[in-house]
Structure formats: C-alpha cells, structure tokens
Amino acid sequence: MESIAKQKIIEDLLPQKFGKAGKIWVGALLVVCAIGFFAYCRQLSKGLVVTSMRDYASWGIYISNFVFFVAISLVGSLITAVLRLSDVHWSTPLTRIAEIIAVSAITFASIIIIVDMGRPDRFYNLFIHGRLQSPIVWDVIVITTYFFVSLLLLYFPMLPDLAILMKFKEKTGAGLNKMYSFLGSFWKNTPEQIHISEKAINLLSITIIPVAFAIHTVTSWLFATTYRPGWDSTNFGAYFISGAFLVGAGGVVVAMFVFRKAYHLEKYITDSHFDKMGKVLVLLALLYLYFNVNEFLVPAFKMKKPEEEHLLGLFTGEFAPVFWFAITTAMIIPILILLFKKGRKPLPAFVAGCLVVIGSWFKRYLIVTPTLLHPFLPMQDVPASYRHYFPSWEEWAIAIGSLAGALLIITIFARIFPIIPIQETITETEQHEHEKA
C-alpha cells in the first residue's frame, strides 16, 4: 500500500479537536449532568422521599434506566464478538463505536443502581453480606466482569492505534501524548506482539458472548424470579437479550450517523454500512416483536384473573399510550422504514435508530413499573399517591443526567482516541488491494 494512502487514512481517522458544535454539545451535556448531580445531592440530603417511589412502585425510572443501560451495553458483544467470530469484515469500522457504547453504558448501569439506593453509604454491605442465592449478587458479579471484559476488548485492538497516535504529538498535543505513551508506548508492532494481541482479542470475543448473555439474563431474572403479574415468565431471559441486541444495534446506527457527520467519515462509514446495519436492525426488531407477541398474547389469551388488571392496564388502561408508543416506535415503524432499500440510507436509518432507542427506553419503563402497581393482593388503606407513579423532577433530572453522562463518556472518548480503528482499517485496505492485484 502506498504510504500516501496510508497517510490519508491516518489523517482522516486521527481524533479531532471539538469544533463549535462539539463544544456546545459537550457544554449542554455538562449542564444536564450538573442538574442531575444537583438533584442527586437533594436526594442524598432529603432521602428517597424526593422521588415519587413509594411502597408499591419501589422501582421507578432509575431501574428502568439501569435495564436500558445494561441492554444497550450488549451491543459490544454483538458487533465486536459475534461479527468478528463470524469472519464478517464490514463491521470493522463500527467495532470501537460499539465497544465504547458498551463501556459507557455499563459504567452508568452501575452508577444508577447506587442512585436507586436510599443509603448508598451502605453499598459495601452488598459485597460483605451479599447472599449468593440472590440474583442481585449475581448481577453485581456479572456487571463487574462484563465491565472488565469490555474494557479489555476496547484496549487490545487500540494498542496499534496508540503507537500511531504517539507519532503525531504536534497534532494531538503533549498532554494526550503522555497518556498515549502511558497506555501503549510498549507497542512496537512486532509479529510476536501482533500474534499475542490477536490471540487475546479472539479469546475476549469468545468470552464476552456468554458473559453478555449472562449479564442480561441475570438482569431479567431480577424480575422473573419473583412471582408477579408480567414478570412471572420463563421467557424473560431470551426476551431481554433480543431486546438488548435491538436497542444496542439502534444505538450503533445513531452513533454511526453522528460520527460520520461530525468527523466527515463518509469514506469509512459508508452507505453500505447503514444498509447492512439496517438489515441487522430489521432482523432484531422482528425477533423482539416475536418475543413481545409471546410475552403479551399468551397471557392475554388466558387472561388469568390476577393478571387481568395488569394486562388491561397496558393494552387499554393508564399505561396504554406508553405501551403502544413503545411497541410502535421501537419495533413496528423501524421495521417498516428499514425493510426498504431506501429506508436503509443513512438519514432514514438514523431516524429508525433514534426511534428504536427512544421506544426501547419506554419499553424498559413498562417492564418495571406497571407490574409493581398491580400486585396480586389489592392495595388497601394506602394514600392515593401510592396507587400511581409519575417520576418527580429529581428523578427525571438524575435519569436524564445519567444518559447525558454516558453520552459524555462516548464524546470525550471520540475526542481522545480514534473512533474508527486506524491500524485495522489500514491492514484491511492493504489486504483488499492485495486481493485486487
């Protein structure tokens, strides 16, 4: 490969300083995070009473957010591991996007769980006095494990890029160069190092799949191991995983579009990538729709008396607008858009991706809260506020702040590191040209 072309790839993919729009974006995210932090300080000083959670709806949008973060984090295993092990090369430019989404999401999944605790100073008790029989402890173990697996899967493929970045000190700046040096100065691109790195990436790709399945299955078991209307299902693990892959893929499509636009990466994230990711998204949306039909149609067909109120609440009752909004935006409209070739162009695919992500967030809310408001035993002698749930401004601020925090990690990561793997792109382009010749 000619060094000019190689040079062009490096120049194109080097991290770039924030422009005006980037600075406004980061500023806006910081403001949202600050408001969220302020709300959390209020919650810490006054207690969980500032939320709308009461005896019945004891899990609100914090836990919905937690399930959403865990779900979206699964994309790292789908794009990086599944496609890599399947020897699919078109996904190479998307792997780092998927991995940083996974790392930021799993980080905030852990944080939001602590936010949901009335006494976060007692968090350590979960480790000291945790019962191995409890799915909550399994979740703690598996989230920690998944975080490290994702971090390593982000780190190993980045080593050759760090060596490249160190050569562009004048462009990246001395401060960042020090960090690159700390993280990857030892990388000399020797055949032995390449061999070890490839072996490690393959091993991680194999490891991350069962760990990813475990993380979301265990999260689903937090619900399914309790006997409540809407949660009492043997299908929950598969239902959660299919939904997680869908929202993760939707998130990647959104990020692809934004990075492509912001960093002018049209040559690397092409229309073909949107076309292929669009097809993946349709497949996953259909799969999730299938599980939804199973989850709701079968109980609705039987309409067992204790579950009737919960189901009717979703279909025609107080949760019906959110329920049908979630089903339509997360699955039906994206399927209708992406089924057609024109719908898999960047802009419509981006719109479909946004719908999937937004609809999926509301879907998580519907999994968590309506069930808690429809217990088997009737609610008696309780204040009216216990019978309904609408998040307080503090809850909204903290939940939106956590989403902004996850976006901030991704944004800052893209400012510091190449969002598309440089070395892998060079190697694949070389191979491609070699095959042509």
Binding site: H129, G130, R131, L132, Q133, W138, I141, T145, F148, V149, L152, Y155, F156, L159, S185, F186, W187, K188, T190, E192, Q193, I196, S197, K199, A200, L203, L204, T207, V211, A214
Partner: protein
C-alpha cells in the same frame, strides 16, 4: 278550601302511619334450631343455629342473643346464654347443675330462645333426644368395633340400623380407615371395620386417634367416641433452619449453587487474569 286542606292533611297522616307500621312489620323471620353433641360419653353440649332467608338466600345470622333451657322454659331450667358467632352458631355446655333435670327422663327436651332485635322477632327452637352412647374398642389385628346403645328406661339397649362412621381423627377432619366411610349397626348395635391405612403420620409415639361417630341423627343427635391406638408412624420434624438452602442466610447457599457460581466466576476471571498477563508480556516484548 279549609275542608280540602284538612282532608289532605288527614290523608298524609294516614300514609305516614301506614309507612311506619309497614316498617315495623318488615322484619325477617329468624329460624332457630338446636343440635345436641355427646363426645366420648363425657362432654355434652348444645349448639344453636340462627339463620334467616334474606334476598331469597338463607344466611347465617350473627350477634343474636340466645338462651338454652332443658325441659321447660323456666329460669330454673336455664342451661346458659350466649351470642351467635359469624357462622350464626352459639355453643353452650350442659352444666353439672342440670344433672337433676337431665336424669328425670331418658328423652330430655331442649329449648333455645332468641331475644327480639331490630331485625328479628323472638324465635324459638326445640329438640328432643334419646339418650345414647357409643363404645369403641380395638383389637391387635387392627380391627375396630363400636357399639351403639340407647337408654330405655334405665337399661342401655343395643340399637340396630343406625349409620356409624369409623375414622381416624386428623387436623382438618376425619379420614376413613378403609374404603367405606360408614357402617350400619347390627342387632347387637355393633359395627366393625378393619384399619387399612399404612404409615399415617401419628404423634411423637406414632399414636393415632380412632373415632366412631353418629352424625345428625334425628333421635340421638351427634355422638362420638374416641380411642388412641399405636397404628401410626412417627415422622420426626426436620427443620430446614440454618441448613444450606436457596432461602437460607448468607454463607448457607446450597453446595451445588456455590460450585456452579464459583466455577463460572473462576473460569471467566482466569481468562481475564490471563489477558492481564498478556498485557505484561506485550510490555516486556516492547522494552
């Protein structure tokens, strides 16, 4: 005009009186009955049942004050007073003080009287019983026999053709000792049945209580007699407290769960530590 007003006023007054009179007569009928019980030929008691037909359905009436009498409704023959419970029942033991009246006849009569309430007028129920008793006996070959005797003048005489139930007493009711729940007495007033149950849980010594019963008989009321037999089996209570179970405290999880969980965690973290080692190896190679 004045005449018309007077007429109208008189008509209204009459109507009001009529409504008031109707309201007073709109009480429901209270049906009062009494049952006699004789347990083990020792404990004699009466149970009053108060019910009424409301909205076309018989309903048990609670909070009715009732008085029980033996022989005649006089203060001297008062057995006791009580109030019906939620099942519309009120129980009174026949006190030793009534012995004289009880001994007067082989066929004593009982009267139960309810007090007038806002909803019900006074009501009365009567019962005549023939004094009778059951004697139960068992044999080593797990055979149960019971004899039903009635008092004729001063002589206990066998009774023929009465259904006697023979069962094992359990917490929630009676359990047949064989396929047939009841047996008719023969000319000797006797029924016999074979105990065919196996390994029924008994008390700490494996004892069971066999019971012979006559239930709701028009002549004799409810009679029963019990006998303890060592035909059961002792099942020692195995406490699951502080054992390794899914619902136990921390550190007491089942071994299979610990093996599974720890081996999965160990396997995954072994891979991770191996990879951390690979980073160190890469560093060494790069120096």
């Amino acid at each position: 005009m004045k005449k018309h007003s007077r007429l109208l006023f008189s008509a209204l007054l009459l109507q009001l009186i009529g409504i008031a009179a109707f309201a007073q007569t709109a009480k429901n009928d209270l049906s009062l009955s009494v049952s006699y019980f004789n347990n083990n030929n020792q404990l004699h008691y009466l149970v009053a049942h108060a019910k009424s037909k409301i909205d076309g359905k018989f309903q048990m009436i609670p909070n009715i004050n009732v008085s029980f009498y033996i022989g005649s409704e006089t203060p001297a023959n008062l057995l006791g007073k009580g109030v019906t419970n939620n099942k519309g029942e009120c129980l009174v033991l026949i006190p030793p003080a009534a012995k004289q009246e009880w001994n007067k006849s082989a066929k004593p009569g009982f009267i139960v009287v309810s007090q007038t309430t806002k909803q019900f007028d006074e009501s009365k129920g009567t019962l005549d019983v023939t004094k009778a008793k059951i004697q139960i006996d068992t044999a080593a070959d797990r055979k149960v026999t019971a004899v039903l005797l009635e008092l004729k003048d001063t002589v206990w005489t066998p009774v023929k053709g009465v259904d006697v139930k023979i069962a094992v007493k359990r917490l929630g009711g009676d359990f047949n000792i064989a396929e047939t729940p009841t047996y008719a007495t023969d000319s000797l007033g006797m029924v016999s049945a074979e105990y065919k149950r196996d390994s029924l849980p008994g008390d700490a010594k494996g004892n069971l209580i066999i019971v012979a019963k006559v239930e709701d008989n028009d002549l004799y009321g409810n009679l029963s007699s019990e006998k303890m037999v060592p035909w059961g089996k002792y099942y020692p209570y195995k406490s699951e407290f502080d054992k390794r179970t899914l619902f136990a405290r921390r550190g007491k999880s089942p071994i299979w769960l610990e093996l599974m969980a720890y081996s999965i965690v160990a396997a995954v973290w072994a891979v991770l530590f191996f990879l951390f080692g690979q980073i160190r190896k890469l560093k060494r190679l790069g120096i």
